[in-house]
Amino acid sequence: MSEDQTVTIEVDGREIQAKAGQMLIDATDAAGINIPRFCYHKKLSVSANCRMCLVEVAKVPKPLPACATPVAEGMKVQTRSPLAIAAQKGTMEFLLINHPLDCPVCDQGGECELQDVALGYGDDVSRFVEGKRVVMDKEIGPLISTDLTRCIHCTRCVRFGAEIAGVRELGATGRGEHMTIGTYIEKSVDSELSGNMIDVCPVGSLTSKPFRFRARAWELIQRDAIAPHDAVGSNLHLHVRRNEVMRVHPKENDAVNECWISDRDRFSYTALNSAERLDTPLVKTRGEWKESGWHEALTRVASGLKEAGSDLGVLASPGCTVEELHLARKLANGLGSERIETRLRQGDFRTAAGAWLGQSVTDLERCSAALLIGSNVRKEQPIFGHRLRKAALEGCDVSFINPLELEMNYAARQIVTPPAAMAGEVAAVARAAGAAGPLIDQAEVTERHQAIAERLKAAPAATLLLGNLAQAHPDYAVLLTLASALAKATGAVLGQLPAGANSVGAQLVGAVGDGLDAMLAQPAKGYLLMGVEPGYDLWDPAAANAALTQSGFVVALSGFRSESLEAVADVILPVSAFAETSGTFVNAEGTWQSFAGAVSPKGETRPAWKVLRVLGNLLDLQGFDHDSSEEVLAEARQQAEGRQLDNAPADAVTECRLVDAALTRIGDVPIYAVDALVRHAAPLQKTRDAIAAAIYINESEAAKAGLTAGMQAAVTQNGTRVILPVTIDPNIPNGCVRIPAGVAGTEQLGGQFGEVTLEKA
């Protein structure tokens, strides 16, 4: 029977169409017929262990589990016959035997699948008079709290770990009454998608630790939002109580994030009320920071900006909304400046290209061969990582060319090479694929290059993706040129994985310029910083600090207080953070997703688009009289109309700038360091993925420098010296040292990639 053949079945006297081979519960769900269930989850494998979905099927003597019974032509199903109801009620009674009656103190109370189903199928009095079992709770990290006595052993969390997160951390140990969910040994659950286990848990066994005991489900108002931390554009539900975001859940959207979100998107809201939130304007007078009123601060900013005039530089985070970036660009243009940049972590601007995914998000999981260049996609864009993992499990051949070895959750080929040799590796694959050109012709092709090239060529849907490490590479233009040649030779789709939530939108509204060098090499008279902490958000913090310090006037629009900002700015205007402002993000595939503010701005903060509009007015610029962000959006859309992004580079660049040094820094941005909101989210900063500033180096390189694990050592980059602890990491190749960017301790260092020297401190 072929997959797309349909069969007709009869459920409760109603005829419904189903796909042959489909499970009964899928067919009834599609038809809107409710069958109770606990262990079944549409995105997970069928385990049929809870038995709650038992139904009566004609000509079968015993009730069958709907989740594990394939439909067949002419099947007659009763979901509410006496036999089915007796089976469901019997199951319910057994499930409740050991479940505690602690709903009043359970966080799941009010939104609990067990509670709901018990209302329909449970009895009012339990016949079980013996003692209930008690299970000790386990400590599994800063994000998930456990109440394992409530567990009904559906194993959704275990299957989620194995099938979606791709790491088996939780398991079911023991058997019968002694079965418990846990890690067996004391261990935290570290997956970047772990928070979804809270969602899949049908009872209050796994609940959100930051949300614990903070609100009841029925007090919360649900509002929609778009995730602000990566270019996936995951759809979110914000749960709000009394003007405070209490928690974040995924909003289902099969075209983008399915029903999952990354932990970064789920827990970053905890920063909204952190102690470092800035809620009044700050003005620096004679080197002293003073709180001030908006009027005074704005007047000061207007005069500063006027003074800077056409010599104004705007540095904006790629996480700013379309509306903010549109107005910022307009403001700069109005003052006669064309200098605006959002590609804050790009290491090379020698060629222009429109960076976007090059395909739809769902295409990622349909590809049959993929080569990722300079990408740790699993940590950079966790949901894209998940899509690629799905592809890999379906047989997609995934390869990586990276400066460090990644911990993968699926089988993939990894070419690990020092940053300076990355271009050579891409060139070798291109040559193996039959491309020609400078660099490619000199490349040395080995078997593994041949293998990648062959798979890319043979695959019906192949893709080449450049990730954040490639964009930060000093020879990004070369990598892109080579990747483009390789894509042409293999017929693969060329795509990029942009860093920010609105990286693509920034390009569409023209918030990209000639690059960071053009912006920072010669200090401008004035700078406008939007959502930027110079020590953390820029490719070369040292150069940025130097330029900003020498500049006449620096105004920052920021949601947080930050030493790095206070060292260089003259005025800091408090702007509303994620969830407090309306706006639009364009995700990696180019989908425009607008959202309204879910809570009102904190304290004296104002949405950045309003601040920019007022500044426009104060500066007497034309066209700053929007009444709503929708008006700004309409204008921005008009501007963006007809603009097409093309990943292929405008000019072929084949001259490598990064020379093979004795020791090269790899300055990746860890998953929980990407922007100010994430950096201030306390629970995320307690996870194992919150990588601290340190010198990560392999054993032999460490020995060469006379260093051992735990020792303090001095790193020198472009004359700046910083003391950091040494960590031995076998994933770093020889000749390299990984010193993460965007984390406390490296805010004075130079570019994300470049020559460094090490010595004992």
Partner: protein, 176 residues
């Protein structure tokens, strides 16, 4: 794709498998791995745990389970699941002779309680305990499928059936 349909192996096979276990233990585990399709190495987990347990004086440690996981390219938790599920794997040290006495229906009807009482008195320990000299462990088990010879117990790989207190004495005293 569920992990029931495909092997849930670790992504990165552990290197240096030849340094795990003794050559004899490895050879025995390998003979079990060979019985399964190549990508289903992990199917040998039960046999591997038994072999390792026997070589370790009758019980498993976390370190040994981790080594089994490494040897079979499995996540460690998957090995813990198996080891905690089956009652014949011991996770704590046991005596030299593990006396597994059945107290299930047939044996109970035929007087297993008397046998248990007798052994508890004789050895001075309760079910689930080990004698101080480390000679005997008493363990209550479910049906071992020898109902025809009830009451019965198992010591090592041997079944002893139709037990009486006198027979128990001679069996226990006859062990080294």
């Amino acid at each position: 794709m569920g992990f029931k349909n495909a092997p849930m192996t670790t992504v990165k096979p552990v290197e240096g498998k030849e340094n795990l276990f003794s050559p004899e233990v490895r050879a025995e585990i390998d003979s079990w791995i060979a019985k399964y399709p190549e990508q289903w190495r992990q199917s040998a987990v039960m046999a591997a745990l038994r072999i390792v347990q026997d070589a370790n004086g009758g019980y498993l440690t976390e370190a040994l389970m981790d080594q089994v996981a490494a040897y079979l390219d499995m996540p460690a938790i998957a090995v813990y699941e198996v080891a905690t599920f089956y009652s014949m794997y011991e996770l704590k040290p046991v005596g030299r002779h593990k006396v597994c006495v059945c107290t299930n229906v047939s044996c109970m009807v035929n007087g297993s309680d008397k046998i248990v009482d007798h052994m508890e008195q004789k050895l001075g320990i309760k079910l689930g305990e080990t004698t101080e000299d480390g000679r005997y462990t008493l363990k209550e088990v479910e049906c071992l499928g020898a109902c025809g010879g009830a009451p019965m117990f198992q010591i090592g790989t041997k079944y002893y059936e139709n037990l009486t207190p006198e027979l128990v004495d001679s069996i226990l005293d006859g062990l080294e």
